[in-house]
């Protein structure tokens, strides 16, 4: 084995790792927003909203993410093109609009899983909490906002942390639409060096470092949360 190629190509991995982390952060942020919206839809009294939420969640969870991302990239982007965000392009090192499609696909996918996590979290809160809030005169959305959701988020923090770590790996899927993240970086280096194996090992190690650091960080947050109880 020979890793001397890193001298020349190492920065590809650094750049890829940066974009992987960026993608993950964007995807988890929008995934949580989508997840919260659809969890609330799913639990709402409105039949139509419930129906929309169930459809979204079931379709996303019932189809491969690879297909989802290709549908978004080849299908939908034929009709609408995302505007380029110059600042973002500068950070990632090339045109941001493909990057945004990739991030959107991962976020939409993650949102379905997060919706289920949040729904379970909300349902795990003792129903006396909602009753107490309502008996004070708070409407159902205020009761959700001030009483139920804060408690639910505390409970599901470990699961959300897990989702974050999963997403770091899941973002590798966007390499299929040519986004320059860690997996794509490994690919490019493989092509450039004509080495089949070592560049992959490097990519895997970098993924592992990221996920390991992320799970340590999540564990740290959890301990902090527990201590504040």
């Amino acid at each position: 084995m020979d890793f001397l190629f890193l001298k020349k190509y190492g920065w590809y991995y650094l750049n890829g790792a940066k974009n992987t982390i960026l993608l993950t952060c964007i995807a988890i942020t929008f995934g949580i927003i989508l997840g919260l919206i659809f969890a609330l839809f799913r639990l709402s009294n409105n039949k139509l909203l419930r129906y929309i939420a169930v459809t979204y969640i079931e379709i996303i969870r019932g189809t491969p993410i690879l297909i989802q991302i290709m549908i978004l990239y080849f299908g939908i982007s034929q009709y609408i093109s995302l505007p380029e965000i110059p600042a973002l392009s500068k950070i990632i090192g090339y045109d941001s609009s493909d990057f945004m499609i990739g991030a959107a696909a991962v976020a939409i996918n993650s949102g379905a899983y997060v919706a289920e996590i949040i729904r379970a979290g909300i349902q795990s809160i003792n129903k006396g909490q909602m009753e107490a809030a309502r008996s004070l005169g708070l409407g159902s959305s205020m009761a959700m906002r001030y009483v139920i959701i804060p408690q639910a988020f505390k409970n599901i923090l470990p699961a959300l942390g897990n989702e974050f770590v999963t997403l770091v790996k899941e973002t590798s899927i966007v390499s299929v639409i040519g986004i320059m993240e860690l997996t794509k970086a490994g690919d490019i280096v493989r092509g450039a060096t004509a080495k089949g194996f070592e560049p992959l090992l490097v990519a895997a190690s970098v993924y592992f470092c990221i996920t390991f650091a992320a799970s340590r960080f999540v564990a740290f947050l959890e301990r902090r949360m527990k201590a504040s109880d």
Binding site: A132, V147, Q151
Partner: protein, 240 residues
């Protein structure tokens, strides 16, 4: 103040309330007693629509509560409720628990609401707990806070569902004292309890429920010393 007529409530096939009629006047302390499963909690919860009646009506200060047009959230601000399990919000400090509803619903400013909260806390002897979290308190303290939280909205009536049943015996007294204080101040109260001593001492009216109906009601003297219904005699002989 609260007029209940022909109130019915079913859970699935289980017929829990079978036609309740009563009238609760301002200043009354109504104590509801009766065997387990007789529908006491369900009746109480129908008064503020935590349970929706199937039939009949609940009229609070002239407003029919089980009506689509009624803004129940607004009416509930005037009806405090205290639960057996306290139901304090564990992620908020005591003072945050107390000022949540006044600041969000009555748009009181935070300092003003806090000042009022501390005043109420003084009344129940817990002003030093203002910045504690609920899980740092004993059961009796939690229930006193729950009462204060309801009072912070200055309700017209207070509903209590077995407020002392989840407490260790040595803590029952402190909560009953607070309730007696409230009664003395003229608060209208509806109390479901198994504390017969409290009923005898404080109630202006005792209501005995059995199998979804008010079987007998009257002054504590009437109901305890001279019950007409044999079911009451049986019930009292078990609890006294």
């Amino acid at each position: 103040m609260i007029k209940v007529s022909n109130l019915h409530k079913k859970f699935g096939k289980l017929n829990v309330l079978k036609g309740i009629n009563t009238n609760i006047e301002k200043g009354e302390i109504v104590v509801i007693i009766g065997p387990s499963g007789s529908g006491k909690s369900t009746f109480l919860r129908c008064l503020n629509m935590l349970e929706e009646p199937d039939q009949g009506e609940v009229i609070f200060q002239g407003i029919k509560l089980n009506d689509k047009k009624c803004n129940i959230d607004q009416q509930r601000q005037k009806m405090g409720m205290v639960f057996q399990q306290f139901n304090l919000f564990p992620h908020m400090t005591i003072v945050e628990n107390i000022i949540l509803a006044p600041t969000k619903l009555k748009k009181e400013n935070e300092d003003e609401a806090k000042r009022k909260a501390v005043q109420l806390l003084k009344k129940v002897g817990l002003e030093d707990k203002a910045d504690s979290y609920p899980n740092q308190l004993s059961g009796g303290q939690k229930q006193r806070i729950a009462i204060v939280r309801a009072l912070a909205m200055s309700p017209e009536v207070m509903l209590f569902d077995e407020p002392t049943s989840a407490l260790d015996p040595e803590m029952v007294g402190e909560v009953l004292e607070v309730m007696k204080g409230l009664a003395k101040d003229g608060m209208t109260m509806v109390v479901v309890t198994h504390e017969m001593g409290f009923a005898k001492e404080v109630a202006t009216r005792v209501m005995f429920m059995d199998q979804g109906l008010i079987v007998e009601e009257g002054t504590p003297k009437d109901v305890f010393d001279n019950p007409q219904n044999p079911r009451i005699k049986e019930f009292l002989s078990k609890v006294l």
